[in-house]
């Protein structure tokens, strides 16, 4: 019986098939009737669902039989189990994906679809056609317009100017007692199976009879089907006499008429460029009000269930759907919706519009949906491989992958505090501004005075929004009378350029703005011996003073050298073309070997900057942090004529200060970030940054402290331990080390 090359396994039964067979056709050809309900064999009804290749809810009528295919029918009276595997399937080939551009997409290749495609081609348009029967199934019509399809090659997103929905019609399903028995077919399903040479046995038809199928037509109106599991009799009633009659059969064929297959048409309705043609654009004749039987097979809802919720006040179509769950299963209302609408209309209302048509109309797997999509791309600096070679653990930070630690925090820390260290700070935002209005523009952008800044000098600036809240900080470096370099935090860099050019346009100032963040690398050389290391690499005798900057060659690389400090030690930031980063990094590491040069990562940098009390915007600040709340009122000059956020700063400054970012220290280990401050048992704020300070031998923190009775006083407890409010910086408060 089993012929190699021509069978599928269906629930353990070897089922032979012929070329061109779907699984459904093969199963019927083998005389099996595993599915109850009136099969449409055309992708609309929910009855021929199978599990195939680990995927459930696959329609047998839409699946070509392939040698060796293992098919399991859907569990009856339940749902397929969740896959138990906790791992991705191995050896699974990736899902194909492509984006397609054309002028016209025609969905459906029946008569109206073929005509629409031909007409569009005559107009010289590039046409893509989809035809579910040929294996290219539309998944949905989306704004754009965009049509998504599943094809034998994978998923396709198709962008076009126009979309023509030509999906034809769908046959009305019978709602009556016995409508869930096996062996019931729609008229078109019977015609298709018969044309494939399937023997349907003794066929009784009701309504419009099938063509090309030997059958006995049942007279009168359909009352129901009878049988045990499989249909054995079709029962009808004579409309005039009321007499019922049963017709014995092997197969019942139902021709109750059809309506538009319009889910996609309704989905596309209102989208510019989309239209429906042919039967898909037609209207449904209202089917008879259902009297008994299963209305919604997916959710097992009967006509009695509809009456039950109606009687308790659920009179809206959507409320009936939601209270019974009719229309929320695998066929998304294809079977039940016409009948539920008739039911509602019978309650004395107008025929309600159909449920909202929602994607997807062809069920795709989440694996298929994920095809062609990517995780958020983290940026890498030019030194990424250098960090990995030194054993760095990389972490995502502000949209970048950055070295967290090179494995020995002590070594990283003390290299900075007592020798020399380097740090990849290429991620800092770096923006050039030039133009006749550059000076005036920045004067208006920043809350501090820019005009007095001389070329070669730099200034720390807060960046305020219009609400007077700090959203970034950085430096302003004047390069010339009308040219500046601005820096911002790594996390803020992407936003910073947008924000600057937005205000430049709003104020109509004459400036040119160029973001250099990705083009320039930056390495911070820091520690008491940083100057010594730089001089070995040919840095000019004259290194800039604290908060100064200059251009010079280091290791043969043209650098903007900026002297500042985030770590609390003398620091020189070397900004350079990113193409030179690796050369510069290696030169620093090699020349400084005997000085003990060693890079530090973000973990140690966090400790270093915290010892200096430097805030990290976005970590220590909240989205509504005014300069005053941050204790940075000194960075705002209210005597300036105007700056961005000035009205808001003035307005909020008249209010009582409610919270303040303060420095805290305590003995013993550091409490975690987020630890809660209590004063006299009451909530008084929380810790934003926290570390054990190696150099100070105690824990230091920045924390939000809330005012009590207008003051920031009282004994603070954190996790039951006393914490002392102290002035920042914690380390080297006079700043003698950075100016040395």
């Amino acid at each position: 019986m089993t012929r190699p090359g021509k069978v599928i396994d269906f629930d353990g039964t070897q089922v032979p098939f012929e070329a061109g067979d779907t699984v459904l056709t093969a199963v019927f050809r083998a005389g099996l009737r595993p599915w109850g309900g009136c099969l449409c064999a055309d992708g609309d009804c929910p009855y021929c669902l199978v599990t195939l290749g680990g995927v459930s809810y696959v329609r047998a009528c839409r699946t070509s039989a392939v040698e060796g295919m293992k098919v399991a029918s859907h569990p009856s009276g339940g749902y397929p189990p969740l896959p138990s595997s906790t791992r991705a399937p191995t050896g699974e080939s990736a899902v194909g994906f492509e984006m397609v551009h054309c002028d016209t997409v025609v969905i459906g290749q029946g008569r109206s679809g073929r005509e629409a495609a031909a007409e569009a081609e005559e107009r010289g348009r590039r046409v893509v056609t989809l035809d579910a029967r040929a294996g290219t199934e539309a998944v949905g019509v989306y704004p754009g317009p965009e049509v998504v399809a599943r094809t034998p090659e994978g998923m396709a997103r198709i962008f076009s100017e126009e979309v023509v929905v030509a999906t034809g019609s769908v046959e009305v399903q019978p709602v009556c007692p016995g409508n869930q028995l096996a062996g019931i077919l729609t008229r078109r399903a019977a015609e298709g199976l018969a044309a494939s040479g399937v023997d349907l046995g003794r066929v009784v038809s009701v309504g419009r009879p099938p063509e090309g199928v030997g059958h006995e037509p049942a007279q009168g109106r359909l009352v129901g089907f009878e049988g045990e599991g499989v249909v054995r009799r079709v029962v009808t009633r004579d409309e005039e006499t009321g007499a019922e009659r049963a017709y014995p059969c092997d197969t019942a064929v139902v021709g109750l008429g059809s309506g538009p297959r319009d889910t996609l048409a309704r989905m596309a309705h209102g989208l510019p460029g989309a239209r429906a043609v042919g039967s898909a654009a037609g209207h449904l004749d209202r089917p008879p009000v259902p009297e008994a039987g299963v209305v919604c097979p997916c959710s097992e809802v009967t006509v009695d269930d509809l009456r039950s919720v109606w009687d308790r006040g659920f009179h809206e179509l959507e409320l009936i759907k939601r209270s019974t769950l009719a229309g929320t299963g695998a066929c998304q209302g294809a079977v039940c919706m016409p009948h539920v609408r008739s039911f509602v209309a019978a309650g004395g209302q107008e025929l309600p519009p159909s449920f909202t048509a929602r994607p997807v109309v062809t069920q795709i797997t989440m694996g298929e949906a994920a095809a062609g999509w990517y995780h958020h791309p983290d940026r890498r600096t030019a030194l990424h491989d250098e960090h990995l070679a030194l054993g760095a653990r990389m972490e995502r930070s502000g949209g970048w992958l950055r070295p967290w630690t090179y494995g020995d925090a002590d070594r990283e820390y003390w290299a900075v505090r007592s020798g020399v260290s380097i740090c990849d700070v290429s991620t800092l935002g770096k923006i050039l501004v030039s133009g006749p209005d550059a000076d005036a523009f920045l004067e208006r952008i920043y809350p501090t005075c820019i005009s007095p800044l001389r070329p070669g000098r730099a200034k720390y600036v807060l960046v305020l929004d219009e609400r007077g809240y700090v959203f970034d900080d950085g430096l302003v470096c004047r390069e010339g009378a009308n040219r500046f370099l601005l820096t911002s935090t790594s996390a803020g860099a992407g936003h910073f350029e947008m924000w600057l050019s937005d205000w430049a346009e709003a104020w109509k100032v004459d400036v040119r703005i160029l973001d250099r963040t990705a083009s320039w690398g930056a390495i911070n050389v820091t520690g008491p011996r940083s100057g010594e290391l730089l001089s070995r690499l040919g840095a000019a005798d004259w290194l800039p003073p604290f908060m100064g900057h200059t251009e010079m060659e280091v290791a043969g690389v043209a650098c903007r050298v900026m002297r500042l400090s985030f770590t609390g030690e003398i620091s020189y930031e070397l900004h350079h073309q990113a193409s030179e980063s690796r050369h510069l990094w290696h030169a620093l590491m090699e020349s400084g070997a005997d000085l003990g040069v060693w890079p530090h990562g973000l973990e140690v940098l966090e400790e270093l900057r915290l010892e200096k009390g430097h805030i990290l915007v976005g970590v220590d600040s909240l989205p509504d942090s005014t300069p005053r709340r941050l204790g940075h009122g000194w960075a705002v000059r209210m005597d300036k004529a105007d700056f961005l956020g000035k009205p808001a700063v003035a307005r909020t400054s008249r209010m009582e200060l409610d919270r303040l970012l303060v420095g805290l220290e305590m003995d013993g280990g550091p409490p975690p970030q987020g630890a809660i401050l209590r004063v006299k048992g009451d909530y008084a704020g929380f810790v934003t940054s926290t570390t054990w300070s190696r150099v100070l031998g105690r824990s230091v923190m920045l924390a939000w402290l809330y005012a009590r009775d207008g003051a920031f006083a009282g004994d603070i407890l954190i996790d039951g331990r006393p914490a002392r409010k102290v002035a920042v910086p914690f380390y080297d408060p006079e700043g003698s080390r950075v100016r040395a």
């Binding site: 896959p83 009967t302 809206e316 695998a330 929602r358 994607p359 994920a370």
Partner: protein, 404 residues
């Protein structure tokens, strides 16, 4: 029949009167909860809820049904914990099955900064009454063995997270119906297909509403509108710090077996739970553009599916059944806005963003107390509209599961 067919609730619809003590615009969760609490807690029943569609037709019928209190600021933790508590008693109180199910919520992170952040969340949660604990990757594996801790070997390996055993789900429609029925039984009117087209404001005070079924006067008008609140408030001359964005979701087909917890990753941008009926229900952040459109996008399916199948590989072969969208009123500080508006006779409960379902019981309870006593209860005083003028914002980084 299926076991989930609603078999308890019965509505009693009444004719529209020309005058009520309180008119609530919007028959969603918050409007009905306010009416329910006015009737049950304060004996105020001369109240009408006006709904332009059917009850629960807005975001109350479109959300992903998650109840949690693991917020990021004390004021929000306290408020949502109150809601968690009220939700857990709602079935007993109303006698109606809302399918309340304490599933627990795993909130995963993928790196040291995220780990610190979640630890901080657990601290503020515990301090203000919400049960949230920090968990290691090993504990994640015990709570939800389906999670691939290595995230497919990519850069999103799980480094920890928080677990909130208090988090639950409930069937959104049933919450709406239980509250509507409970209010109606005590005499509150709920009017469907009744659109508010204007406000009666003869002077400085709002005295009622114009509807497509005629004018209705009211002692107090409360906007519990979702999605069109800026338009309604503008009729009263009130400006709101709200931008409306679409929020999308999807469900898979039905599967037997229980995927127990709710799993979320803010960094990867998705969350998932299994409904009582067996669908896997997935969501992500809001769409970036302001919009009132209810249309779905395919990008959403893709960008939500990819992290989901990466962290929970068993999802890969599940088939997607249906996607949909709602519109969310995102306040600028990601917290709700409740109470007075500066215009007499006109109150709002709005700014419910992506967190509205969670706040339904407490939001209604507190608004009802405010209306009945004409005093702002302490629990919602931080969430007044005045806070923007008074520089007392309630920025809550923990309010959205998946929006940064």
């Amino acid at each position: 029949m299926n076991e989930f067919i609603e078999a308890q609730v019965a509505f009693g619809w009444e004719d529209l009167r020309s005058s009520y003590d309180v008119v609530i615009v919007g028959g969603g969760g918050h409007g009905l909860s306010t009416a329910y609490h006015l009737a049950t807690r304060h004996g105020m029943t001369n109240v009408a809820v006006l709904e332009r569609g059917y009850i629960g037709s807005g975001n109350s019928g479109r959300n992903t049904t998650i109840i949690r209190a693991n917020y990021g600021i004390p004021e929000a933790v306290r408020f949502y914990q109150r809601s968690v508590d009220l939700y857990s008693r709602l079935e007993e109180e109303t006698g109606r099955w809302i399918m309340h199910d304490r599933k627990g919520l795993l909130w995963l992170v993928h790196g040291t900064p995220g780990t610190r952040h979640e630890r901080a969340r657990s601290i503020v949660n515990q301090a203000f009454g919400a049960d949230t604990v920090y968990v290691t990757p090993e504990e994640v594996g015990r709570i939800c063995p389906e999670v691939d801790l290595n995230a497919g070997g990519g850069e999103y390996r799980v480094t920890g997270g928080t677990y909130s055993p208090h988090a639950a789900t409930a069937r959104h429609d049933r919450v709406v119906w239980a509250l509507a029925e409970g209010a109606m039984k005590l005499g509150v009117h709920v009017h469907q297909r009744t659109a508010v087209t204007g406000l009666l404001k003869p002077g400085d005070r709002v005295t009622g509403v114009l509807t497509d079924r005629g004018p209705v006067s009211a002692g107090v008008v409360v906007s519990a509108v979702g999605g069109h609140v800026s338009t309604l408030a503008a009729m009263a001359g009130v400006r709101l710090p709200i931008r409306t964005h679409p929020l999308q979701a999807f469900v898979t087909n039905h599967y037997a077996g229980s995927f127990r917890p709710i799993v979320a990753s803010a960094e990867m941008g998705f969350y998932v739970s299994q409904t009582p009926r067996g669908e896997m229900l997935l969501g992500a952040g809001i769409d970036s553009q302001p919009s009132y459109s209810y249309r779905s996008s395919y990008e959403f399916l893709s960008h939500c599916s990819l992290p989901a199948v990466t962290l929970l590989p068993f999802l890969r072969n599940l088939t997607i059944l249906r996607q949909w969208a709602g519109v969310c009123d995102m306040s600028v500080d990601l917290s709700p806005i409740m109470g007075y508006t500066g215009v007499d006779g006109f109150l709002v409960t709005t700014g419910w963003g992506t967190w509205g379902f969670k706040g339904i019981p407490a939001g209604g309870e507190q608004m009802a107390e405010l209306i009945a006593t004409d005093r702002t209860p302490e629990l919602i005083a931080p969430f007044s509209l005045n806070r923007f003028k008074e520089d007392r914002l309630m920025f809550d980084p923990g309010s959205t599961g998946t929006t940064h």
